[in-house]
């Protein structure tokens, strides 16, 4: 089953000069376990695309299927359930729940999805180098550490699809690379599909497929 | 020095008297209330003979009345003193009623003057309830514990022998007054004219008292002797509209003569007086006969009070200058005025009492 299907998606935002079309009949398919990189100029609509894929925002037309489920046929609760069960989201910042410890944050989504596996979570934490930070709270972590926790939390729930929106955008290049390396490695290890928004051609090169968003459509992709 | 003791709501009382009674110092009003028509009140008539002892008592149908006693005294050391005891009656209506309904209001003033100090005190009372009043026979005038009580023998005039007491916050006195001469009617057989327009009062005096007794002063009791003078006067309209006050003297000459004189200060000065021989024969002095000339003023509480006078009676070559025992003899009471003993010299010499109102 395809992890994500975007079929002729259009999306426009209202603006002072009338509606601005951000996505214009865009289509994309992501097979299970495959890693896709999405690049594009700032403001080209990458985040919008990702939000639509996650069911956080509705598209104006077109279909979105996550793990075979049509999002447009779902109500808010259904889409939320899908996010819990099948998706992993990683944003640029504010991914963590500030009132929970690192350990609780790591386990949180897996427990929500009812797939909590303590051994696996511990394993991920070890791999992400978080073993010593488990008792800390988010604001006691550096940006890179926080993003690693977000990745761990996302993967611990064994999502079918990971959607990551410039997860290292806030980090310096070195740290960003380490974190992303880990993410790629671990998603592959967990057999999850990945759609990664990034500005870095170097990182994009490490993905199986690369897409460039321009004028509301994808270019390239192999 | 004066001491206002037991100060009551004096303003209320003062008002009662301010409207009706003479010695009020309200120059703005100029004693105007006194000159107004006395509606319902009796008005003195010339030719009415005085009746004793009845006229020693109160005349409620007249608006105002007083029993006014002064004494010039000396102690064994030759120190001079002056004493005043006065009971005023003021009627709100020309009648007497029982109890609180009585429209009669009483006011007592007591003064005691030494060369250095001047004491004064006052009392107020409603008539009708027994707190103050006068009875003609037996003669008693009183307000609270102050009294002037007759001890005259049978057949003698009630005023011939008086026991007098008053008490203030820091002084009191008990004096015995014995008359050495007869009662003397003032003016025209007791009808005393007060203005050219004809305002008048009934007025008689007992100017021949010898006095003895005790003064209680803050430094202790002092035995004193001297001479005394009693004035009785009642009226309903003693002053004219324009009259602001008066200057009044009673004089005892060393040769045994007595003299009363006053000037009423209005647009025109109106004077009157009586020359009294040692045997009590009065000679009324018409308007203008006596001349009052202030010689020296004393500043008292912002007022300029003429405390030294030249008094002249040209017809008899009388010209004297008075000197007060204490120029600060101000009766600082609800109704305030100057009242104190004096000595005089010049063509004649002797002692006397000076009263000045309306300053």
């Amino acid at each position: 089953m395809t992890a994500l299907i975007l079929d002729t998606i259009t999306k426009s935002f209202p603006s002072a000069e009338g509606p601005v079309r951000v996505l214009d009949g865009l289509s994309l398919q992501i097979a299970p376990g495959s890693a896709h990189a999405l690049t594009g100029d700032s403001g080209s609509g990458k985040s919008t695309l990702l939000h639509i894929a996650a069911g956080l925002e509705p598209a104006q037309s077109g279909r979105v299927l996550v793990a075979g489920t049509d999002l447009s046929a779902q109500d808010d609760a259904g889409r939320a359930a899908l996010r819990r069960g099948s998706l992993g989201l990683i944003f640029q910042q504010f991914n963590l729940i500030p009132s929970l410890s690192v350990a609780a944050n790591l386990a949180f989504q897996a427990r929500l999805a009812g797939r909590h596996d303590a051994a696996f979570t511990d394993h991920l934490a070890d791999r992400l180098g978080l073993a010593d930070l488990r008792a800390r709270y988010p604001e006691q972590l550096s940006g890179g550490q926080q993003q690693r926790v977000a990745i761990g939390r996302c993967l611990a729930a064994r999502p079918a699809l990971v959607l990551a929106d410039e997860p290292t955008g806030n980090l310096d290049e070195g740290t960003g690379d380490t974190v992303l390396d880990l993410m790629l490695e671990l998603t592959a290890e967990a057999g999850a599909a990945l759609l990664l928004v990034t500005h870095s051609p170097r990182l994009a090169a490490r993905c199986d497929h690369r897409h460039h968003l321009r004028a509301g459509r994808l270019e390239g992709g192999a | 020095m004066q001491h206002n003791l037991a100060k009551p709501a004096i303003h209320a009382a003062a008002l009662a008297f301010g409207l009706a009674l003479a010695p009020a110092s309200l120059p703005a009003q100029g004693f105007a209330g006194l000159g107004t028509d006395a509606e319902g009140f009796a008005i003195p008539q010339r030719g009415t003979a005085l009746q004793f002892p009845a006229d020693h008592g109160p005349h409620p149908e007249y608006r105002i009345e007083w029993w006014y006693l002064t004494a010039t005294l000396s102690d064994a050391d030759g120190q001079d003193y002056g004493v005043q005891w006065t009971l005023f009656r003021s009627a709100l209506a020309p009648q007497e009623d029982e109890g609180w309904d009585s429209p009669q209001v009483w006011m007592g003033h007591a003064g005691l003057t030494t060369a250095e100090q001047h004491f004064s005190a006052e009392r107020f009372a409603r008539g009708g309830i027994g707190q103050a009043g006068v009875t003609a026979d037996p003669f008693v005038a009183h307000i609270d514990d102050w009294h002037m009580t007759s001890h005259a023998e049978e057949g003698a005039d009630a005023l011939d022998h008086l026991q007098v007491h008053a008490r203030g916050g820091d002084f009191s006195y008990d004096l015995e007054f014995i008359a050495e001469g007869p009662l003397v009617p003032q003016g025209d057989a007791g009808y005393s004219v007060k203005s050219p327009q004809g305002q008048a009062s009934y007025y008689y005096s007992q100017p021949f008292y010898t006095v003895s007794g005790t003064l209680d002063l803050p430094d202790g009791p002092v035995k004193v002797t001297g001479q005394g003078w009693l004035d009785r006067e009642w009226s309903s309209q003693p002053l004219a509209e324009d009259q602001a006050g008066w200057d009044w003297v009673s004089l005892s000459f060393d040769d045994g003569h007595r003299m009363m004189g006053f000037q009423l200060r209005g647009t025109e000065v109106f004077t009157a007086g009586t020359w009294i021989t040692p045997d009590g024969t009065p000679t009324p002095l018409p308007d203008g006969a006596v001349q009052f000339t202030p010689l020296h003023h004393t500043r008292i509480d912002g007022r300029d009070v003429p405390t030294h006078w030249r008094i002249e009676w040209a017809e008899q070559d009388l010209s004297i200058e008075t000197e007060p025992l204490n120029p600060n003899a101000w009766m600082d009471l609800s109704i305030s005025y100057w009242e104190g003993p004096l000595r005089f010299d010049g063509s004649h010499s002797g002692r006397g009492y000076l009263e000045m109102t309306g300053y």
């Binding site: 939000h51 609760a77 504010f94 009132s99 604001e139 | 209320a12 609270d144 916050g169």
Partner: protein, 794 residues
């Protein structure tokens, strides 16, 4: 630069106008409650001052007789002995449609006072019958045939007139008492020998309104302060949160080169402006509140103490100024902490919520320490203290300790709940509640205080009410009460009544100073009506028999407790009787005066002149007897009171007494609800960043809103639970310390769980109302708003 900084600071309020509204509302309400209460107090106090300055400006001693009457010739005797005394006649009289106190004075001898000054305006007219009364009283009187003139110098309910007129109208030839002028000449016979039977009452004691009503006003003031404190919690919380919200802005402004000094000054100026605006609004509201409550306060004071207080409020600039000062002070207090933190804030302090929470963890420890210290102080005061002020000190310490402890206890409870939680959402729920505690704690403290005050005062009033009703039913055993108009009428009524009623109990009393307190001595006929219906406190054995035998006195509880008497051990000095053993005490609620009871024969022997003021009559045919009394003696209906009427009267006075208390209670609770609302609204904006990840993780906005609502309710419920013991403690202190000190009686604490349930319901509704708006906003929040969290730097 300052202008730019101010513009930036103000922009926050433009965007968060609701928060600004809350801040202003909190400060305005605090001011309103405080100043409202102060307005009531000052109005009443000025009324007492009017009453006291009417006759003697409170400086003249009085001479009175235990019988309440002095023959007029005694006055003359004293005057003629040189004593400067002035007579006064006082009495109740029906004038037009009002029952008034006639005060007859003699203006010529009266000591200086407002009354004689009025009389002096026109003595002639005054002697002729001119009378003066407060405009309100003239309105109450309605039609009359007096020469009645209005004057604010006369207390409400009093008619001032000449003594002769007063005697006439009161149908008496006697005087009520004499004023002894302050300065007296020397050398008179002493009063002890001149008038040994006359009692010399020191200046001020005759007009003891100030003293008697002190406790009432202290109560009001305490309530005003409590309300003010609750209001300050709102302000403090709003200011604190606004500071938190604008921290990034401060950072930026300072990074841009704005000196810290200027920034601080700007913030202080901002606070000052807010305080002034809110203060003025608060004063207006306070005046409205006070005007609204004034009639009830006046009725209470008149009913309870006979204090002549007008039911209309006058504006008083001093009151306004002090109210405004209080507001500014309160705002300064609330703002000081924020400014202090700003002053000590490193430019790049972390803007993370947990950091704040952790910083406040230190604060929490300090707070715990203070709470503990206050609790210890409260205990010390309980053990060692005495007096009304100590009582209030104890209350203040205990309440503050409890309030400060609230966040600590709640945090502990939440930690416990978190530990017991199953499931990630539940765990998050508790963890998140804990984390947000510091921001809500002030509002919760305010809520706790308001709830505790509500429970405490409610319990006190209800306990008092229950006790009072039982007591009243026993006290009002007589079916009829008849008030004879004069001694003659009393003499005529007595045999007539004795023939027709089951029992006639004459009521006589004289005024006396008992153990240095103003009081009264009553006569009591030995009768089952008393033996059966008057439960005694600490009675000696056979107390009633011994009383009947004239072997002692009973005293009221007020006297018993205030003078620290002990039945059987102590004696009481009664003028004209001597020292008698105290046999026991009886409850005497609602009476400010000390009281002692003698058996009737003994009383009559000691005070033969005392008139019968009332006959209490036991009869099975009250209606018939009433009718025949009216017919044969021409008694007015005002002279006869039946049992039900008396009971209604007493109950209505009782209810009135607590109208103000209840009103203030409700207002305080409303203010607390507002505090919570303000805090929740402010928090809502900041919470978006905390909630967005959960939403992204698959919790719907609706569910999150539900959880937010639930959190508020849980915190509210926990606060309510905490408030219960605090409230009961408060009630206990009110009943056994404050009441004893203020009124002289101790009451048993009774619990009324139904009242608590009602209060809990109201509290939950208030919390629900406060939490609804933010929750609703969250539920309706579009994804765009939530999404923005992830792409926007805070």
């Amino acid at each position: 630069m300052t202008r730019i900084a101010l513009t930036a600071l103000m922009s926050h309020w433009v965007r968060n106008w609701l928060q600004l509204a809350m801040l202003l509302a909190g400060l305005a309400l605090a001011t309103a409650l405080w100043s409202g209460v102060q307005a009531l107090n000052s109005e009443a106090r000025s009324a007492y001052a009017t009453a006291e300055s009417l006759l003697a400006e409170g400086t003249a001693e009085r001479l009175d007789h235990p019988s309440g009457q002095i023959a007029q010739d005694r006055y003359i005797t004293l005057r003629r002995a040189g004593w400067q005394v002035s007579p006064v006649v006082e009495g109740r009289h029906t004038l037009g449609s009002a029952r008034v106190t006639l005060v007859g004075i003699e203006p010529l001898t009266a000591p200086q006072g407002a009354g004689p000054a009025l009389a002096a305006q026109d003595l002639n007219a005054f002697f002729a019958g001119r009378a003066f009364a407060h405009p309100q009283t003239i309105t109450e009187i309605g039609a009359h045939d007096l020469d009645l003139h209005p004057s604010d110098a006369v207390p409400v309910g009093t008619v001032l007139l000449d003594i002769g007129r007063a005697q006439e109208m009161l149908d008496t030839e006697a005087l009520s008492y004499l004023h002894l002028l302050q300065t007296q000449p020397a050398g008179m016979r002493p009063l002890d020998t001149l008038a040994p039977d006359l009692r010399r009452v020191p200046a001020g004691e005759g007009a003891e309104l100030g003293g008697l009503t002190d406790s009432f006003h202290l109560n009001l003031t305490a309530f005003g302060l409590l309300a003010f404190a609750v209001g300050l919690f709102i302000v403090h919380s709003s200011v604190g949160l606004a500071f938190e919200q604008r921290r990034a802005m401060f950072r930026t402004l300072r990074a841009l080169g704005l000196p810290l000094r200027t920034l601080t000054a700007c913030l202080a100026a901002e606070m000052l402006v807010f305080a002034l605006i809110a203060g003025v609004v608060g004063l207006v509201l306070g005046h409205l509140l006070a005007s609204f409550l004034m009639p009830d306060v006046a009725l209470t004071l008149r009913g309870l103490y006979g204090a002549p207080v007008p039911g209309v409020l006058q504006f008083n600039p001093i009151w306004a100024a002090s109210g405004l000062a209080m507001t500014l002070g309160g705002a300064a207090l609330a703002g000081a902490q924020a400014l202090w933190r700003l002053w000590h804030l490193p430019i790049l302090a972390p803007a993370q919520p947990r950091a704040w929470a952790r910083a406040s963890a230190r604060g929490m420890r300090l707070q715990g320490g203070v709470a503990l210290a206050l609790a210890v102080l409260a205990i010390a005061l309980t053990l060692g203290g005495d007096g009304l002020l100590t009582g209030f000190g104890l209350l203040a310490a205990a309440l503050l300790a409890a309030a400060l402890a609230v966040p600590l206890v709640l945090a502990a409870l939440l930690r416990l709940a978190q530990r017991g939680a199953r499931g990630p959402v539940a765990e998050w729920f508790w963890a998140d509640s804990r984390q947000n505690m510091p921001r809500l704690s002030l509002a919760l403290m305010a809520l706790m205080l308001a709830l505790a005050a509500n429970i405490g005062v409610g319990t006190m009033v209800a306990s008092f009410r229950a006790t009072f009703i039982d007591w009243l039913d026993l006290r009002l055993a007589a079916e009829l009460n008849v008030m004879p108009a004069s001694a003659q009428e009393a003499a005529a009524l007595h045999p007539y009544l004795s023939d027709r009623a089951d029992a006639v109990l004459p009521m006589m009393r004289v005024d006396a100073t008992l153990k240095g307190q103003p009081g009264q001595i009553y006569a009591m006929k030995d009768h089952a009506s008393f033996r059966d219906n008057w439960p005694l406190i600490d009675p000696v054995p056979d107390a009633w028999d011994r009383l009947a035998a004239g072997e002692g006195v009973l005293v009221n509880e007020q006297l018993y407790r205030r003078a620290g008497l002990q039945s059987g051990a102590d004696t009481l000095d009664l003028p004209g009787v001597g020292a008698l053993p105290v046999l026991g005490a009886y409850a005497d609620y609602g009476n400010p005066l000390a009281q002692a009871v003698l058996t009737l024969p003994q009383f009559q022997a000691a005070y033969p002149d005392a008139p019968v003021r009332q006959f209490a009559i036991r009869t099975s045919d009250a209606a018939g007897l009433t009718a025949s009394l009216q017919e044969e003696f021409g008694l007015s209906s005002a002279q006869i009171t039946d049992q039900a009427h008396a009971r209604d009267l007493s109950m209505s006075i009782f209810e009135r007494t607590f109208v103000i208390t209840r009103a203030l209670n409700v207002l305080t609770l409303s203010v607390a609800a507002l505090a919570l609302f303000a805090a929740l609204v402010t928090l809502a904006g900041m919470r978006l960043a905390q909630l967005a990840p959960l939403w992204a993780l698959g919790l719907t906005a609706r569910r999150l809103a539900g959880l937010e609502l639930a959190r508020a309710l849980v915190l509210g419920a926990l606060t309510m639970v905490l408030a219960l013991p605090v409230g009961l403690m408060l009630a206990q202190v009110l009943l056994s310390v404050i009441n004893v000190q203020a009124f002289g009686w101790r009451l048993p604490l009774q619990v009324f769980p139904a009242d608590w349930a009602r209060l809990a319901l109201w509290a939950m509704l208030a919390v629900l109302a406060a939490a609804s708006l933010p929750a609703l906003q969250l539920a309706r929040q579009g994804p765009a708003d939530l999404l923005r969290v992830f792409s926007r730097d805070r």
